[in-house]
């Protein structure tokens, strides 16, 4: 019987009631009496010298309160970067200034130059057209390899070049890796591009700044995945506001996918302007603005090589990647192509020697940072395309080649040559499960049926490893993180037994309000309806690090478990007192405390009431109340893994790829809410398939964004996708967190792109086109047709 509550139950998402009935309260729903409206004047050129910004005409327009330029921000800090990468020579990365508003130069289309604040939005927009800007255009820096040539123009004059860093990992292994390649029986080489993506959450970014002159308190309402991080970065590094005077609220947030992790100039602006002008200031991004101001994702150019011995064992792997940073360093940008990418290059395999080189490059494009998967999709795509190519070159079954080189279940914990230690996994099991649920055995018959209709059918496999819940804090500190990566929780049991859980995680679609309540309900034995989950407001939640990197249940959930265990321990003491028994004899089951071996018991509310009405209470030895806070800092990442299978049909006349079936066999360890997990996987698959077939962020030779709207940037639609088969019955629980859970939020987006591309290449090879070994994403009809007609 499926459970109807607690851990393991597919409880329906309680938050969906408000989302589906239009009762969600998003940042744009927040309107403060007397608020003014900000309109950003943004650069229309990719690279240029900003000679003059004349705001006099604009400031004279009706309703205009002030037009801000860089000069107004002379006294504040720039937008900070939260991670410092050290290069292969031991030097810190080059870190350019990132002013709130462009100062002296513009560096990408969309770079903010001035901001009009007016009484109405239309007035602000009218006045924005009257801001006179004098720019001398400079040659834009767009191609990463050209950007590193000595004669390239520089994005940042204060730096020595456009190179942010040249990172080697593990640098000490480089010579041994090269030696292994020299001895290899076979070397497979693949050059590929991981296409740049625009995150496009359904809700565009919004920021509302408010300032109370009588108290000196500032409040920022913002579309953020991590309000405490924004409070820290903006308060400490940009505006110089102590935490006690700055509240950051991220209410309902309509999707983030990474793009709402970062501290953006618009947040600092509205907070600053509200104080300067003495009125609340609101900014709402248009969709067009989002395309040129939200951090974008991916954009790697890679050459990867695999060395194999005569028995097809992987002996070494090396990669060289150019990673586009865009014009400025977004909050976590430097860590994505390095620590979230290089450390995953072992994949599911026993490859003993690995060397990863990453050159991060500044260009005159929108900044690039984490996007669903963040570094791990790039690693998985390279590796799983490469292994597939190797199998084809060697004439062996791609499944068999993978199996032969998989880390075996008896090898865990497994120390990879790229620093990380996988605690647990069973890749043979997920591969078996995939072949079963995808009816791999029946593929040949289906391929024959397609062929009879003039279509080319192919089957592609990818097996991924992911590292979720980046940690522990002391390690990431050594790697350059300028933040901790723990999570916090306060569990406040109220007098009548209901429970308020204050979490530092942030939900922007993940269903925390449901699944976190299931965890606490299971532990205490009370109904989940008695539990509320509170998040998103720095004024009432403990300092938390927010939600990204598939960390919330593994890290935030563990903090909740830790705090709940403290609650249970104290409640047992109270129960022991009430029952006049020894604490060691108290058992908690189904919300009732009983003395072992007796029929003496007190229920949950009897204990909670005693905690707050402590008439019969051991006041001499224990404080009243029942509220506990815990911080959880994981000892390791969690390592979900899975096998994905994609079945496509290619129309040879048009190059159009149709996905007929997609199966996912994941190992997420223990699962709290199977329905939510399945939803996460389906969403991830849609995004990964979007990257593989549809989405592409394209700049022209002048640095203008060609795919700047949904007319040209193709988001996946329901009819682009098949019905997914999602299975998570393979389970190797995480060994180091109390729930035994791994992350599931990004897996779909990580494992699916190589599965799709492998399937298309398979279809072409089956049709005799063995000359086509790779097509860069997205595999649009025109690209596939061009490859077939080259």
């Amino acid at each position: 019987m499926p459970k109807d509550g607690g851990i393991g139950a597919s409880t329906k998402r309680r938050e969906d009631v408000r989302f589906l009935t239009g009762k969600g309260r998003y940042t744009d729903d927040i309107n403060i009496r007397g608020q003014a409206y900000a309109w950003f004047v943004r650069s229309e050129v990719a690279h240029g010298t900003l000679n003059k910004v004349d705001v006099s005409a604009a400031e004279a327009m009706p309703g205009v309160l002030k037009v801000f330029t860089a000069a107004d921000f002379a006294g504040v800090g720039g937008i900070p970067c939260g991670w410092q990468v050290t290069d292969r020579f031991g030097k810190p990365m080059q870190e350019p200034k990132h002013p709130v508003l462009a100062d002296g130069k513009v560096r990408h289309v969309g770079d903010p130059i001035a901001v009009v604040v007016a009484e109405t939005l239309d007035q602000a927009r009218d006045a924005a057209e009257a801001v006179e800007i004098d720019i001398t255009e400079l040659t834009p820096v767009l191609d990463m390899k050209a950007a590193l040539q000595p004669d390239s123009p520089k994005v940042h004059e204060e730096l020595t070049s456009n190179l942010c860093y040249d990172w080697g990992f593990v640098e000490e292994n480089k010579a041994a890796v090269d030696e292994a390649f020299a001895k290899a029986a076979h070397v497979t080489t693949l050059e590929l591009i991981n296409n740049r993506l625009v995150a496009n959450p359904m809700e565009p970014r919004v920021a509302v700044g408010d300032y109370e002159s009588h108290s000196g308190n500032s409040t920022l309402y913002t579309t953020s995945q991590n309000p405490h991080v924004i409070r820290l970065l903006m308060g400490a590094f940009v505006l110089g506001i102590p935490e006690s005077k700055l509240r950051v609220v991220a209410p309902d947030v309509g999707g983030g996918f990474g793009s709402k992790i970062y501290h953006y100039a618009e947040e600092a602006f509205v907070t600053f302007a509200a104080k300067t002008l003495g009125v609340p200031v609101k900014w709402t991004s248009t969709r067009s603005e989002a395309f040129i101001s939200d951090a974008q994702g991916r954009d790697h150019v890679t050459k990867i090589q695999l060395a194999l011995d005569g028995d097809n064992n992987f002996t070494a792997l090396r990669t060289e990647t150019y990673a586009n940073m865009g014009a400025y360093l977004s909050t976590f940008a430097p860590s994505i192509p390095t620590w979230l990418h290089g450390t995953l290059m072992a994949g599911n395999y026993r490859t003993p020697l690995i060397y990863v080189n990453v050159k991060a490059v500044f260009t005159n494009t929108v900044p690039v940072d984490a996007y669903r998967g963040a570094g791990r999709p790039e690693a998985t795509f390279q590796l799983e395309r490469l292994v597939d190519k190797a199998a084809r070159e060697l004439g062996v079954d791609p499944v068999a080649l993978r199996r032969q080189n998989f880390i075996t279940p008896d090898q865990f914990p497994y120390q990879t040559p790229v620093a990380v230690v996988y605690d647990t996994g069973n890749y043979h099991a997920t591969m078996d499960k995939l072949l079963e649920i995808s009816d791999h055995a029946g593929f040949e018959a289906r391929a024959a049926e397609s062929k009879a209709r003039g279509k080319l059918r192919g089957f592609g496999i990818a097996h991924y490893i992911e590292a979720c819940g980046i940690a522990p804090s002391n390690l990431v500190g050594q790697l350059g993180a300028r933040a901790g990566l723990y999570e916090s929780a306060t569990v406040r049991v109220n007098a009548t037994g209901s429970i308020s859980v204050f979490t530092g995680s942030h939900s922007h679609g993940q269903g925390h309000e449901t699944s976190f309540a299931q965890v606490v309900a299971e532990m205490i034995g009370v109904d989940a309806s008695q539990i509320e989950i509170v998040h998103g407001d720095t004024s009432n939640t403990p300092m938390g690090m927010g939600t990204y990197g598939s960390r919330s249940l593994a890290v935030g959930g563990s903090a909740i478990v830790k705090a709940t265990n403290k609650i249970i321990n104290k409640a047992k003491k109270i129960a022991a007192h009430l029952l006049e028994a020894s604490e060691a004899d108290i058992e908690l089951k189904d919300g009732k405390f009983s003395v072992a071996g007796t029929d003496k018991s007190v229920d949950w509310t009897g204990v909670t009431l005693a905690a707050y009405v402590p008439h019969n209470y051991p006041l001499e030895s224990m404080e009243p109340g029942l509220e506990e806070t815990a911080f959880y800092d994981p000892s390791n990442f969690t390592y979900p893994s899975g096998a994905y299978g994609c079945e496509v049909e290619v129309d040879p006349e048009t190059g159009k790829v149709q996905i007929l079936a997609f199966s996912a066999a994941d190992d997420f360890g223990n699962i709290v809410n199977p329905m939510i997990v399945e939803g996460q996987v389906q969403g991830g698959l849609a995004q990964g398939i979007g990257q593989a077939l549809l989405e592409n962020c394209v700049y022209d030779e002048n640095g203008q964004l060609l795919s700047g709207s949904f007319m040209d940037y193709a988001m996946p639609r329901a009819d682009d996708l098949p019905m997914f088969k999602v299975d998570h019955s393979c389970c190797t629980p995480c060994t180091h967190n109390p729930l035994g859970v791994k992350g599931c939020g990004e897996a779909g987006a990580i494992g699916s792109p190589p599965a799709v591309v492998n399937a298309v290449i398979d279809a072409l090879h089956r049709a005799g086109r063995t000359d086509i070994t790779h097509i860069d994403m997205p595999l649009t009809p025109s690209r596939v047709w061009a490859a077939m007609n080259a």
Binding site: E129, E653, F710, D712, T780, P781, S782, A786, N789
Partner: protein, 262 residues
């Protein structure tokens, strides 16, 4: 969007009069005009709505074929034209999404003449007649290139009259993002011969493929055009496909349209 005046006349005469005022622009379904106004690329002083004129809406069988009022939305054509002209109903049902089909109109589409719109291919492929407040214009004389038509300033399309072919089909290959026609081919077989009109492909907007028409008039089979090809030199080339790709699609889709024609 900037402020503007809005008028909604109930007769063609009143609409023509309203459009004669300074800065007046005709508004039909608004599927192109409204987004450009939101972006401030278009700032009309007066919008003259054409959707409140009874004689400009509806689908009916007339003497010279199927008559469709210019302000008839795509959804109505999709629902009502099928009994008389299935290929046309099918085309209308494939434009945009339900919201677009409920607002967008045939007259608006033809007046705009977007090079990737669907309707121009049906009008040119059928040899339809475009009726305006002032005259009747043959389809062959109407389309003058990308976003360019034979309409005079202030002239309003009031109706489109489609001759009904023996067989016809429209095959659209979607641009993946917008789902406009990356290339779309309308094939219509009349007793007098076959017409082939192609949208989405040419830099000059919708066009007739004369060689294919001749070959298909001789033999209405996909194989009839096997030996033909179009040059991609003057075709649209963008991030969704090169001119050569579009030229290739013209042929593939023409064959498919011949197969599908009923």
């Amino acid at each position: 969007m900037r402020d503007f005046q809005f008028v909604k006349p109930s007769s063609i005469a009143d609409a023509v009069k309203a459009l004669s005022s300074e800065g007046a622009v005709a508004l039909s379904g608004g599927q192109t005009l409204i987004p450009t106004m939101k972006q401030r690329l278009n700032t009309p002083d007066v919008l003259v709505s054409l959707t409140g004129i009874a004689e400009m809406t509806g689908v009916c069988r007339g003497d010279s074929g199927l008559h469709i009022g210019a302000a008839t939305p795509h959804a109505t054509v999709a629902a009502e034209a099928g009994a008389h002209y299935p290929a046309l109903a099918c085309l209308a049902a494939g434009i945009g999404d339900p919201a677009v089909r409920s607002r967008g109109t045939i007259g608006g589409s033809l007046a705009n003449n977007d090079p990737s719109a669907c309707y121009p291919s049906a009008v040119l492929g059928s040899g339809a007649v475009i009726v305006t407040n002032a005259r009747q214009i043959a389809a062959d004389d109407y389309f003058l290139g990308m976003f360019s038509t034979a309409l005079e300033e202030g002239e309003i399309i009031t109706e489109v009259r489609f001759p009904i072919p023996e067989k016809a089909a429209y095959v659209k290959f979607d641009q993946p993002a917008s789902r406009f026609a990356l290339t779309g081919v309308f094939v219509a077989k009349f007793a007098s011969g076959v017409r082939v009109a192609i949208t989405g492909a040419s830099n000059d907007g919708v066009f007739r493929w004369a060689e294919a028409e001749a070959a298909l008039s001789a033999s209405f089979t996909p194989d009839a055009i096997e030996g033909l090809s179009l040059s991609g030199d003057d075709m649209i080339s963008d991030l969704h496909g090169t001119g050569a790709y579009r030229a290739h699609l013209c042929k593939v889709l023409t064959k498919r349209a011949v197969l599908a024609a009923c």
